[in-house]
Subunit: 167 residues, 2 copies
């Protein structure tokens, strides 16, 4: 993301994207899920410029998505680890990756796909579901105002219902 957008906190999606929507950021988190822990590891895996990687890692640490510790066995090395908050991004990342493999594979030949480790069975696509497991579409959900609702936010919402078919 280029510069600070003028969307303060109107939408929780906007708030998330303010942090994660910057180029490279989610890829760094993905690498952390892959088990990458060190600066040079991220750098080599992504080919990212070092100064940008530096600022991204600092922001992720600052936001509480990664921790930053010096390796006890080698004082030069810094160890970056996912926090619970970072691990909570797992569904988001899988959803994005699944969307990409479903819709962006040019010839339909996927490089890899997700399976359950124990059984080897494929993982179904991530979906929005009700408590009983029914899959929900965008027409099936609505908003309710919470205690943090403000007039500014309400003005930004076209309506409190997701109406994909509305005029």
């Amino acid at each position: 993301m280029p510069k600070r957008s003028p969307l303060p906190a109107s939408c929780m999606l906007a708030r998330s994207l303010e942090l994660l929507g910057e180029w490279w950021t989610l890829l760094i988190v993905r690498d952390a899920f892959f088990g990458i822990r060190h600066f040079e590891g991220f750098q080599a895996s992504l080919g990212i410029a070092r100064n940008v990687l530096s600022t991204r890692l600092a922001k992720l640490v600052d936001a509480g998505i990664l921790t930053r510790d010096t390796d006890a066995e080698d004082g030069r090395r810094i160890v970056y680890r996912l926090t619970d908050q970072g691990r909570a991004l797992f569904p988001t990342i899988v959803a994005l990756a699944q969307w990409g493999s479903r819709w962006l594979s040019r010839d339909g030949r996927l490089p890899y796909s997700f399976i359950e480790r124990e059984s080897g069975t494929p993982i179904p696509e991530v979906a929005v579901r009700a408590i009983d497991g029914r899959e929900l579409g965008c027409r099936d959900i609505a908003f309710i105002e919470g205690p943090g609702m403000t007039e500014a936010i309400r003005r930004n919402l076209p309506g409190l219902i997701l109406h994909e078919e509305a005029a």
Copy 2:
């Protein structure tokens, strides 16, 4: 995303982000879910610069996420609509919004939350699940190579298992 990254198609997440990771793009898709259909609508809702909105919409149309038609009743108006491919981003967007409300609300006072429209019951957080509905963590899944796997991609993957705890 600033400039073209040197990640060709190594990861399906990277491919998705090449399209959606640009600043504003996912917010435009969100607005489309809200029912916004016209240029001025997006512009007013997001406060985005007109030239940027113009390029974003063109890219989304080009990628097959939105359609672009002239309004039959008013030849000036252009109608942008989500395609199936665009609607398939629903879980991603909800997952990101839920993550934001769970981890980024400063004082815990949410402006709004998702409920099921019919019953009014709250929507559980989006999760990665096995076929039988069990929730899966990053330790529970693995990759298998598909027909599109190449040596270049394999080199980029630290391993074919998501090993969050690995050294």
